[in-house]
Symmetry: C2
Subunit: 441 residues, 2 copies
């Protein structure tokens, strides 16, 4: 779970300078009235953007249109005049609400004709499941004259490819499970062919344990130079609760050129930012920590209070984590702390449950009970209740013990209950990561 900082007025994702690419433009249209309610967002456009950027298309505009044939007709008519490619998802189902075929027919003055070969294919798809094709599904075999088909391996609606004045208009179904493989096929087999190989290529660096402004102060003088380089790289900084992401976008003549430039850029930033960078290959923190534990043959046990199981849950989100996760306890009550992790009641009385001695005792206790090399103790005030002037909501104490090394920190987080839990789990895993890395040297 992440909470974006939504710095929507931040720097743009694409380079504004002397880039040779992208040299072609595209527009993405999502069709469906449900995408105009407060409940749903068009997410297909993210995958489409990524794939099209990599073959040199700049996305100029994204639109969401309801199941309204006149509106979509107008939008399509405009779109082919403005861009070099129109990608349209949704509205290819069998019901009357599915108006994409009809809108294309109207916009480009192409009569709709039933393709009996498609009818047959849909009919046999139903037959394979022992069902009769409902008559309504014949609608999905309606094809604007001159369109070519895009096969759909995961559903009944074929995709359609129409050209209008040299501009391809590609119609794909809305469900991502159907849309994504069709998109990949089209990019590979039809669109990449017209591409020079140039495009936008990306890397994501994940960083934790430092603030956004701190990271930017170090990183900006470095990435600031890249915008004007031979292979321009645009860099965006994104603050997400508990971590910072740097998004690097190279505008390159081909993938190999981009890979080389991005590799060098990532390495330059990594040396400047040091161990704060935990991932350059997309792995989440729990996977990075898991790999470190596995490679060192260490096993871990956890005693959590305020994180309420989230730390264990994240550690065990990683496939194969049973290799190194031995056990965990959520000791919400003081009794549980004493009975299960041997935290002396007198220690809690003397310092309070949220204190460095108690966090340390939790880590030591769980480690000794579970006979593991690594123990973590987390105690704090997740809120909204329970804060005091001394220990306000968001106060969290974390102890990490690895063999005979221990690290205990008192931290203060802002945000609601779930954010405090998330940031605490993040901080605990990062403390462990840094200790394991330091142990190497």
């Amino acid at each position: 779970m992440v909470w974006a900082a939504f710095d929507a007025d931040g720097p743009p994702g694409a380079p504004s300078s002397g880039a040779v690419v992208p040299d072609r433009t595209a527009c993405v249209i999502a069709v469906g009235s449900e995408l105009l309610t407060p409940f749903r967002l068009d997410t297909n456009s993210l995958a489409i953007t990524e794939r099209l950027n990599a073959i040199g298309y700049d996305i100029r505009l994204k639109l969401v249109v309801g199941d309204d044939v006149e509106e979509l007709t107008r939008v399509l008519t405009d779109a082919v005049r403005m861009v070099d490619l129109v990608m349209c998802t949704g509205g290819l189902g069998p019901t009357e609400d599915d108006i994409t075929r009809e809108a294309v027919s109207r916009a480009f003055d192409l009569p709709l004709e039933v393709d009996e070969a498609i009818v047959e294919r849909i009919r046999s798809r139903f037959a394979r499941r022992g069902m009769r094709m409902p008559e309504i599904n014949r609608r999905q075999a309606m094809v604007p004259r001159g369109a070519s088909l895009v096969e759909n391996a995961n559903g009944t609606a074929p995709g359609l490819w129409i050209e209008r004045g040299g501009v391809p208009v590609v119609l794909l179904p809305g469900p991502p499970r159907e849309m994504t493989p069709m998109l990949e096929g089209i990019v590979r087999d039809r669109l990449a062919a017209g591409s020079s190989g140039a495009g936008l290529f990306r890397r994501v660096m994940k960083i934790t344990g430092r603030t956004e402004s701190d990271i930017d102060a170090t990183a900006q003088p470095i990435y600031g130079r890249w915008a004007m380089g031979d292979v321009p790289i645009a860099t965006t900084i994104l603050a997400i609760m508990g971590q910072i992401e740097l998004h690097l976008t190279a505008s390159a003549r081909n993938r190999a050129e981009a890979d080389a430039a991005l590799e060098a850029a990532v390495e330059e930033l990594r040396s400047a930012l040091g161990a704060a960078v935990y991932s350059v290959d997309g792995r989440p923190l729990e996977a990075v920590v898991g790999d470190l534990l596995r490679s060192r043959g260490l096993r871990i046990a956890v005693a959590e209070s305020c994180t309420g199981g989230l730390l264990m849950s994240r550690l065990t989100d990683v496939p194969g984590s049973s290799d190194y996760v031995e056990r965990g306890v959520v000791c919400y009550s003081n009794q549980a702390k004493t009975e299960w992790v041997d935290v002396p009641a007198a220690l809690i009385d003397a310092h309070g449950a949220v204190s460095e001695p108690v966090a340390r005792a939790l880590a030591d206790g769980i480690r000794s009970r579970a006979r593991t090399e690594v123990g973590i103790g987390v105690t704090g005030i997740a809120g909204p209740g329970g804060g005091t002037p001394d220990k306000p909501v968001g106060t969290v104490v974390i102890a990490v013990v690895v063999g005979n090394q221990a690290n205990v920190r008192t931290l203060n987080f802002v945000g609601g209950r779930e954010q405090v839990k998330y940031q605490s789990a993040q901080a605990a895993m990062n403390m462990l990561r840094l200790m394991l890395l330091a142990g190497e040297r």
Copy 2:
């Protein structure tokens, strides 16, 4: 964490029949090149849609435009010709990439003028933090002639309100923390005034423990009648991993009429669907279960294996859950099961760790150790490894014990590791909910 079924070709969210409302149309524009990358979605439009629907605006179109003054100028020029209201977010920051003011100036031929009162306000905002206003921030005080201001309590960029041929064009900043309160103020103080009170009003019903087709078979004959009623209600069914949502949208002459119709509709569906409906007020399952535990004065303890702490983490996501959550243990290893929850090693040997006797022993053991009224045991195979022909990945056994009542079930879930964990936690909480409700009768 939820996994939408993305039935993007499903039924539309708004009624298609004899509705008296909505009677006005709106278009939502999000500005920012970062929203045209694979990393970010415009989420502001969801809140805008909800608020505008409730005062009778139908959202006809949503657009995302980059930091491109010509493109935005064109989009704005078109938009005011098509709809009764244009809502635009983003692009009001202080940098050169922030082009919304300039585009409005060009689209409507209104010169930009610096408003010294705004400069003063921004300057004093910086001063309060002991900082000098950077000169670049003067850009945020540029106002198209004739625009009125919308105060921004949480940032430097004021919002702007321009009218063009009777169509309001409202410009709000992109960060939701700034945008949302400004939106609410505008809707309340300016837009609702022109409203007849008519609009689209919504309810969400949350259901678990039954399949989508099963729910729809019961619900469709009921909600099918509503589309043509005096107060038409459109119903959409949305399958999310581990639960089903029914979204009811009433098109009503005023809020009171909508409330009455929706109340009756929810009750009708609730009687038909029975206890499978767990929430009609937005509460998540963990909060529903928490309220049941609290009202009965019961305390809970949990022994989880394959859910890895997720069940405890969700139970403790609820503020005040320390009132009824006593402790939890994640016993990944068999040793932990034996040492901490007294599951006899012989029982594990005889039946396997993933078995009904072991789940029951986990629930009994944790309940007795923690001296709570309620105990839950969860054991299963979250995958991707660990499956056998007998017990494939997704096999999960859950035992819930409440006083002298026990319920043990073996379930089979599909999906990846995180989905199996989520559905298991969902099923465990739902079994407890149903037992607590049955105990009432």
